[in-house]
């Protein structure tokens, strides 16, 4: 990274104005930048979550404004060096504050709601009273949905690796000059709506649909029924259909990161291994596969996480006995209006996924994702 411009204070590039009589804010512009950003973020979160309301909220918003103006003032009054040190914070400010207010703050309101109680069955405003009962309900009443969500998402993730890895491999190593074209082909299907694609699968998997008819024609329905993929001669409204839908819809999220990591591999490494009498298989096992693991790691996260919270596939391809936790959250939140229970379930889902990600990155972790 020779291109990165040093902005640490004290670098030889110190040709700032008036080096002799600088005040503290000129010597530590980075502290001002980061401080202003964090202060604004925290205050916005406090206002957004309703921790501060009324006059306090207005005061907080005023402080945010002052922090931003101060940042600009220091940049204008300071020399070139100060400006350079503050520039990144200025660039980050609007986007990061957006995320603070509309990503972080909602997580706090979600937590707060999950510990609230609805005064009556039909009430809308829940009251915050440290009600852990929602979590007990989430675990006892929706245990099956949690298990199914992670089971289906897990199987779908394994299937996306099984389908996506060979495809990415062939494109990366045998695509030649058509590589970009082929990877474009992988992306194109995903420019049509997710929902319509799932409806398309519903139609194809229906009893008279293309896929089911084809399976009947080649006489494999009996076999597929025996191994539990089909239910009699039906394919739609089975767990297999839901898992198939999840696999299909998240496949590009597996293919693309694997492709990116395979593409980076220097082909000469494989040639060198073969010159040293390594077989194709062991060259793959010892060189290509380990080097592609960061892609598999990123792909697993990008597939497993959205799949475990998904409810669209089960809605269109499953039956009432295949509901996943996403269905339950959606139903409790938007249909039953039981926001506290839905919030508790959302929070548990996120907590389990976070634990999973932490354990998983401990074993396979790379910093390629960030």
């Amino acid at each position: 990274m020779t291109a990165t411009i040093e902005t640490e204070p004290g670098t030889p590039r110190a040709r700032s104005s008036g080096t002799g009589r600088t005040s503290w804010w000129q010597r530590h512009p980075q502290r001002i930048g980061l401080g202003s950003l964090i202060l604004s973020g925290v205050l916005l979160i406090a206002v957004g979550t309703g921790l501060l309301d009324g006059p306090l909220a207005i005061a907080a918003l005023f402080v945010v404004l002052v922090a931003i103006v101060a940042l600009i003032m220091v940049a204008v009054m300071g020399g070139l060096e100060t400006r350079r040190a503050l520039a990144p914070y200025g660039l980050l400010n609007p986007g990061m504050l957006w995320l603070a207010l509309f990503y972080l703050a909602p997580l706090f309101t979600l937590l707060r709601n999950s510990l609230s109680t609805l005064p009556s069955r039909f009430a809308i405003d829940a009251k915050f009273d440290w009600n852990f009962g929602n979590y007990a309900d989430a675990f006892t009443d929706f245990q099956d949905q949690f298990i199914r969500a992670f089971l289906y998402a897990g199987i779908a993730t394994v299937l996306t690796i099984a389908i996506g890895y060979p495809l990415a491999y062939v494109i990366a190593f045998r695509g030649g000059k058509y590589r970009n074209f082929l990877i474009g082909l992988v992306i194109i299907p995903f420019f049509t709506s997710y929902l319509i694609r799932t409806i398309a699968w519903q139609s194809m998997l229906a009893d008279q649909g293309a896929v089911t008819s084809f399976l009947r024609t080649i006489h494999v329905t009996g076999f597929l029924d025996t191994i539990g993929i089909m239910d009699g001669d039906k394919l739609l409204n089975t767990p297999a259909a839901v898992i198939g839908g999840l696999t299909y819809n998240f496949l590009p999220f597996m293919i693309l990161p694997i492709y990116v990591s395979l593409e980076k591999i220097d082909v000469h490494l494989v040639e060198a291994a073969k010159d040293l009498y390594s077989t194709s298989v062991s060259a793959f096992r010892k060189i290509v596969f380990p080097l592609s693991l960061p892609g598999v790691f990123a792909g697993t996260l990008l597939t497993f996480i959205p799949a475990s919270g998904d409810f669209v596939n089960q809605l269109y391809l499953g039956n009432p006995n295949t509901t996943m936790i996403g269905n339950s959250i959606q139903d409790q939140f938007l249909v039953q209006n039981n926001v506290p229970l839905a919030s508790a379930m959302s929070f548990v889902l996120m907590a389990i996924i976070t634990v999973f990600v932490l354990i998983y990155s401990r074993f396979f972790g790379t910093d390629d994702l960030v």
Binding site: L92, F102, G184
Partner: protein, 272 residues
Amino acid sequence: MSEPSSRRGTVARWGLNGFAAVALFYLFMPILWIVIYSFNKPVGKFNFIWQEFTLDNWGDPFKDEALTDALWESLKIAGISTLIATVLGTMIAIALARYKFAGVGLLAFMLVLPLTTPEIVIGSSLATLFLGQDVDRGFRTVIIAHVMFQVSFVALTVRARARGFDFGLEQAAQDLGASPMRTFWKITFPLLLPGILAAALLAFALSIDDFIITLFNAGSVSTFPLYINASFKVSFSPQVNVLATTILIFSVALLGAGMLWGVYRDKRTKAI
């Protein structure tokens, strides 16, 4: 890559290629269904069983008025949110790629977090924020939600592009007397433009496609996916297929144009 020459190797090689071809076909199966059924003349309100070939649906793509309105709403939302997210995300990307500064790890982590949060958690949590503040959910809240998840995608896409960018060029321009503003618009921006456009296209597609987060924050607003879902119990018109195919054709044309432009630029740069 040198391939083994034995017969078993050849079989394995073509087996793998065949598998890849089947996988590619699998990716296109629903697309084929959508395109083929846009030429169907359904009996009743559901376009699910093949009857006969017709061009009527393509002759009257906006027949389903509520569907057309929903698509228009989606395009408006996608346009506005993509514009905001592209500006915010590009600023973040430049900051991360160009400068070394305190807190960079924390801020980069903050950027990845929304991508590792299931949509249903993002959607429901944002809805609790709006509920708590008594904000009516509608057009504006959908835009807020879309910008939120687009920013991370844009920032990471542009940053990937900016990583290979030689910021020494900026220094050179300034040494030759260009003002910082002029340097940005004449040097930095044009060189980052392909990455920015790719990111904007991605963000636009994500917005039009989004169902789960939008469902929680739309109130009475109906977007393209929301309308299809809501009306699915009573109708599924062939116009859905026609409009979906049109969106697909547009996206592919944009993608193709982008690729050709990239090839052209590379050739020109090499010529110089």
